[in-house]
Symmetry: C2
Subunit: 272 residues, 2 copies
């Protein structure tokens, strides 16, 4: 293969296989080129990836070495993207009873979801996450987006036991906002002991659901290394029960009566 | 930008924006190169994409013209992938009460989900789909994978009305397998009139759920152009109520008592 062809093929391979260590001999054999040529290809790819703000190639030397594509969402790109999301969320017609926000349209856009996933994955890429955990239903697309960039599996906590899961572990927890006792379950075979976990969800008020997930994960001896939520909402009546989380957007002063809402950047970018 | 750099950048741009018409002037401006050079770049990219079995570039001529990346999963790649999935599903320990199959581990792997999505997207890419519809919960990751390659939004039908959706349209339907009456809902603002829809789900027995979705979509005057299910299961007691679907895998002769299961290719590849 010629250099120009190889650059296209290698770029595609790396994008499709983020966080995967690929040996030089693999590229050398697959694209029928000398290792030195492959090295030069990778230098070009790395330079352009950095320029485009999409991450970089990490070289690991030694016999078991190779190269690993670490996806990143550059801070500039992230700022622009979050600003834009904030603007879209400010629309008062999004306000729903109970202080919730209609976001299904945004969360239905694959490219928006992919960008959110890339931001969290950049942030958590050094934590050696083994698995991304979310709770049904709305967090699921975000969790898959994060997981696809971290190249790890997704595990879904459910609120209703389903026959199709086999035996499960369950806990009861108190929902922060409604003060109701709810149940969460996770299939027994879904997590291995001591797994390093990152929790992803779309929305957090007091944090009761995420706290419930943490309790459930304790039953599997999992280590919660990171928590990422797209939107956190301040609730004046309820104290937050979760700390150490990353939020992209924060909403406050929700006033359903006056159809008002205040949308700020979350703690990922710092308050504006 | 030099050709070698442009090839990396253009490849990345096209992969991140499938099914999107991109004008030559856009590339020309973004990467600071003559249109003739960009044309040559695109010829190289197209050739390698085809070689790698990942799709092709469609050129649209005229003033509003440009180039569109049509993702494809080559038949060879699809065969290999489905064969491999069949082998993994044959494991009798996957059998669950009621003739269901434990698939959460497979559906938790982002790369597996992405491949399944790419196969369906290849199959449906000419149907001008406006939106991918699925039902919570297990179909969601598959639906997003399909949608990301078709570059269209996802809409999720739910079985439980949630406060965070605003006003909804609901129908009752009879579940094929359990003969119970169930409810399905879709937020009013989720679909526009006459939308061309593709339904994606992970599992289909008699097809009652998918039939329910079709009925619900009628309320929105949506046109169901395609139905894709990962696994269809033959149910001897129940006649199938859905036709014109694409399945990747078919299971039959499920015998929970004897821990036996037969896994075949679905109608996408023809019966083996």
């Amino acid at each position: 293969m010629k250099r120009s062809d190889r650059l296209v093929a290698i770029t595609n391979y790396l994008i499709e296989n983020p966080m995967k260590l690929v040996s030089l001999p693999f590229f050398s054999t697959t694209y029928d080129a000398a290792k030195s040529s492959i090295s030069e290809d990778l230098t070009i790819v790395n330079k352009v990836f950095k320029q485009e703000g999409m991450g970089y190639l990490k070289s690991i030397s030694g016999a078991a070495g190779g190269v690993k594509y670490i996806p990143e969402h550059s801070l500039d790109n992230s700022k622009k993207f979050i600003d834009d999301l904030c603007k879209r969320l400010e629309d008062p017609s999004r306000l729903l009873p109970g202080g919730y926000l209609f976001m299904s349209d945004l969360l239905g856009e694959p490219s928006t979801v992919r960008n959110i996933g890339k931001i969290f994955a950049s942030e958590f890429s050094k934590l050696e996450i083994d698995v991304v955990v979310t709770v049904a239903t709305k967090g699921i697309p975000l969790a898959y987006a994060v997981a696809s960039f971290l190249n790890v599996p997704v595990v879904i906590v459910r609120r209703d036991p389903k026959v199709t899961e086999g035996s499960t572990v369950s806990i009861n927890y108190v929902s922060g906002s409604s003060r109701k006792i709810q149940t969460m379950i996770l299939p027994k075979r879904s997590l291995h002991e001591g797994a390093k976990v990152c929790i992803i969800d779309d929305f957090m008020m007091a944090g009761g659901t995420i706290n419930g997930m943490k309790d459930l994960l304790k039953e599997f001896n999992a280590q919660v290394k990171a928590i990422g939520v797209l939107v956190e909402a301040e609730d004046e009546e309820e104290e937050r029960v979760v700390d150490n989380y990353t939020s992209l957007i924060q909403i406050s002063n929700v006033n359903v009566k006056n159809n008002k809402i205040k949308v700020n950047k979350g703690n990922f970018l710092g308050k504006s």
